[in-house]
């Protein structure tokens, strides 16, 4: 199975980097090499393979492959920028661990197991807090990030276990289905750190470097979100006609809209790039929460497409912020006047990032986000959602205006953005290479950020087969039958995986007690009382 080499490389690479963390250069080199091998392994991965292990197993899909290819590529570029910007030695280890656990989470058909893997990925993220501040302050922020991960994981494990069994003799009110859905949705919200559960994520932005922030607040939670989407579409959405989950869904919608709108406001008032990046991630994670709130198979493909675009675009924004800091030795917005004039390459990268994250009609990510909004809210709320998703233009505009302002005359302001090459010293190549690297840190960071911005724009435009992969089915072991044809059924419900079987076992039939209106239960109005009826499968 072609997934196994990827798992071995990522997990083994993470352990190797952690064991070699003493000599920083060696750890960085091993980490970069492992990320490169992981990228090759992901490219060599074949969809539609499965490996049965006991009653469960692993299966590959086209979406898994694309997620891991992009994750490895983004991780590699961020690691290079981190090395140029003087990032932390544990960053590559955490990147590899997050990639490995994400690979497991997305390849496990059983949601109960997938949640465990996704939680493990979040646990590794807390390691990033240790190195920067060192000691007690880092440990304090790290353990709070870990607490968010464990609480979210616990909620998801319990809720999925509750639904994932034979419920044909359900004695409780069907409203508990809504509670289970709410628990999983809030678990995703906590992991992303969306508003109002963003305190830990905001503290994290104080601590970890820009290049590692997307790992903890975007990539690792994205795996849980994808698992939660598959679970909700298979376990909750089919019951939506019979079971009133609208109250729980309203809570999730409120969280999503609050995050989309308020995160932009929070980003607007920040005075440093790190927090702008942090809140930008939170804002776009709100759109993922919209997808979780959709509970509609029609939202399956747009949601997964948006997640792909979101994680890559936010990583590019973080890379851009790191390149700015490396080039101008500051991340304070007020000190960055004229950044776009001084470094045209950074301006080009910024333009690509804005296009990738805001998008234009016709771009796959823009259309996916539009489909999610149209599928979840309507009327005034839809207007609010559209204003919210376009509101990042405000802080992007602020950064742009600062960038085209008159440059500040100050020491170091005349630093060239172009590469600098000293004459080749054949007698001391090592010293020459070290000096060349040191002299070109800003250019390397800027060039890498621009490359990542191009990748983000390409993903946003739907290249690399993103929309087709997003429309595929979740992994299944018996019949790994994901099709990459866009016209294939987009619902993951038609061929549910093993973990998704119990949900049809409950058939909730309205008990008609003299209420003729109760024959057509709907989400609105007083619902009829439901009594669980055993089905043949139950």
């Amino acid at each position: 199975m072609t997934l196994l080499p990827f798992l071995i490389v990522t997990i083994g690479g993470a352990l190797a980097v952690l064991f070699l963390r003493g000599p920083e250069r060696l750890a960085t080199a091993v980490g970069l090499l492992a990320l490169l091998v992981a990228l090759v392994s992901a490219l060599a991965m074949r969809p539609n393979e499965s490996l049965a292990i006991g009653e469960s197993g692993l299966a590959t899909t086209g979406y898994l492959r694309l997620f891991l290819v992009l994750g490895s590529l983004v991780g590699l570029i961020l690691a290079v920028i981190g090395a140029a910007a003087g990032s932390r030695r544990d960053a590559t280890a955490v990147t590899l661990a997050v990639l490995g656990t994400s690979a497991l989470a997305l390849s496990l058909p059983d949601a109960r197991l997938a949640v465990l893997a996704a939680t493990a990925g979040g646990a590794f993220g807390a390691l990033l807090c240790v190195a920067p501040l060192g000691g007690r302050a880092g440990a304090t922020i790290g353990i709070r990030a870990l607490r968010a991960t464990v609480v979210a994981g616990t909620m998801a494990i319990a809720a999925i276990a509750w639904i994932g069994r034979d419920l044909s003799e359900l004695a409780a009110q069907p409203v508990v289905f809504g509670l289970a859905y709410l628990a999983v949705a809030l678990a995703v919200a906590i992991r992303f750190g969306v508003i109002p559960v963003h305190a830990w994520a905001a503290r994290l932005a104080d601590t970890v470097p820009e290049t590692t922030l997307p790992l903890v607040t975007a990539w690792a939670p994205a795996a849980l979100a994808i698992v939660a989407l598959a679970w909700a579409d298979a376990s909750i959405a089919p019951l939506r006609v019979d079971v009133d989950v609208d109250q729980a869904r309203a809570v999730v919608l409120a969280v999503a809209l609050a995050s989309i709108v308020l995160a932009s406001v929070a980003a607007w008032i920040q005075d440093d790039l790190e927090h702008i990046v942090g809140y930008a991630i939170i804002g776009e994670a709100g759109v993922v929460m919209l997808a979780v709130a959709a509970l509609d198979p029609e939202a399956w493909a747009p949601a997964r497409m948006w997640i792909l675009s979101f994680v890559v675009a936010r990583s590019a924004f973080a890379a851009w912020a790191a390149a700015v800091r490396t080039t101008f030795f500051t991340g304070r917005v007020a000190d960055l006047r004229g950044w776009a004039i001084r470094s045209p390459l950074l301006a080009i990268a910024f333009l690509f990032i804005v296009l990738a994250s805001i998008g234009l009609p016709g771009l796959a990510a823009f259309d996916a986000r539009g489909a999610l909004i149209e599928g979840t809210v309507d009327g005034p709320l839809a207007v609010v959602a559209w204003i919210g998703v376009l509101s990042p233009l405000a802080f992007y505009g602020r950064l742009f205006l600062v960038g085209v302002g008159r440059p500040d005359p100050r020491p170091g302001a005349d630093t060239s953005w172009l590469p600098v090459f000293s004459p080749l010293a054949l007698t001391d190549l090592r010293r020459w290479a070290t000096m060349t690297w040191s002299d070109n840190r800003a250019f390397i960071a800027t060039g890498s950020a621009t490359l990542l911005a191009v990748v983000a724009l390409a993903v946003s435009a739907g290249m690399f087969g993103g929309p087709a992969a997003a429309a595929g089915l979740p992994p299944t072991v018996e019949r790994a039958a994901e099709s990459l044809e866009p016209d294939q059924p987009e619902s993951p419900l038609e061929t549910p995986g093993p973990s998704l079987e119990p949900e049809p076992s409950v058939e909730l039939e309205p008990s008609l007690e003299g209420d003729p209106g109760a024959s057509e239960p709907g989400p609105e109005g007083p619902g009829p009382s439901f009594e669980p009826v055993p089905t043949a499968s139950g």
Binding site: S56, G142, L146
Partner: protein, 227 residues
């Protein structure tokens, strides 16, 4: 009721009580290890040997990593790594666990017939109840970490009570999660101990966000960005 299973459930809960009540970090880690090692036995039928072995190895490794972080070392300073322990004493923790166990046993299945033993639900609820206070109010890494591990273990045990015995792959993934959690906690604990006096205490939360210091403009741009 299976008496052996009842004994295991009691041992799991006793280990959790000792873990949250003890002020000696080594005792707390040992008690935590007891809970983690015995938890996978709370299943009927007992899990397959391969899966059980994976859980045992994962639990022992997670606990051993924590042990490394809390043991006395001259290199980390004069203060030994004490943990807070329970503020209300172990008898009160026992009563909390007992009450939660009764609730868990009574609510077994949560509205539908369950595939696992009722004792697993009882133990899971007790672990969750014991985990809440350290997790929310803990002021040192080990106490908060103990709460987190117990909370996760509670979810795993309740999951067994609801869904039945996990298969070997699930046990393997669970082991990986426990090792990841234990390793991360151990790293955080060592980071805290390496700073200052060598204790496990967290920094006081001022309630306000840390502001980035104004970045000093470099005197020598060739020296590179500040790190």
């Amino acid at each position: 009721m299976n008496p052996i299973l009842a004994g295991v459930a009691l041992a799991v809960i006793a280990g959790a009580v000792a873990a949250v009540a003890s002020r000696d970090p080594r005792v707390a880690v040992l008690a935590l290890a007891t809970t983690l090692i015995l938890s996978p036995l709370l299943a009927d039928p007992v899990a397959a040997p391969v899966g059980l072995a994976a859980r045992f190895v994962g639990s022992i490794l997670a606990a051993y990593l924590l042990w490394i972080a809390v043991r006395d070392r001259p290199s980390v300073g004069p203060v030994s790594a004490a943990t807070e322990g329970s503020r209300i004493g172990w008898p009160a923790e026992v009563l909390i666990a007992a009450a939660a166990s009764v609730v868990g046993y009574s609510a077994h299945g949560l509205g539908a017939p369950a595939d696992g033993p009722a004792l697993a639900s009882a133990a899971g609820f007790a672990l969750a109840a014991l985990a809440v206070v350290p997790m929310l109010t803990g002021r040192d890494v080990l106490r908060m970490g103990t709460g987190l591990i117990l909370l996760l273990d509670a979810a795993l045990v309740v999951r067994v009570g609801l869904g039945g015995t996990p298969d070997p792959l699930e046990q393997l993934v669970t082991s990986g999660l426990l090792v990841a959690l234990g390793g991360t906690l151990a790293t955080l604990a060592m980071a805290a101990r390496g700073d200052g006096t060598g204790g496990l205490e967290l920094t006081a939360d001022s309630g306000t966000r840390r502001r980035w210091e104004p970045d000093a403009h470099p005197l020598d741009p060739a020296a590179g960005p500040p790190r």
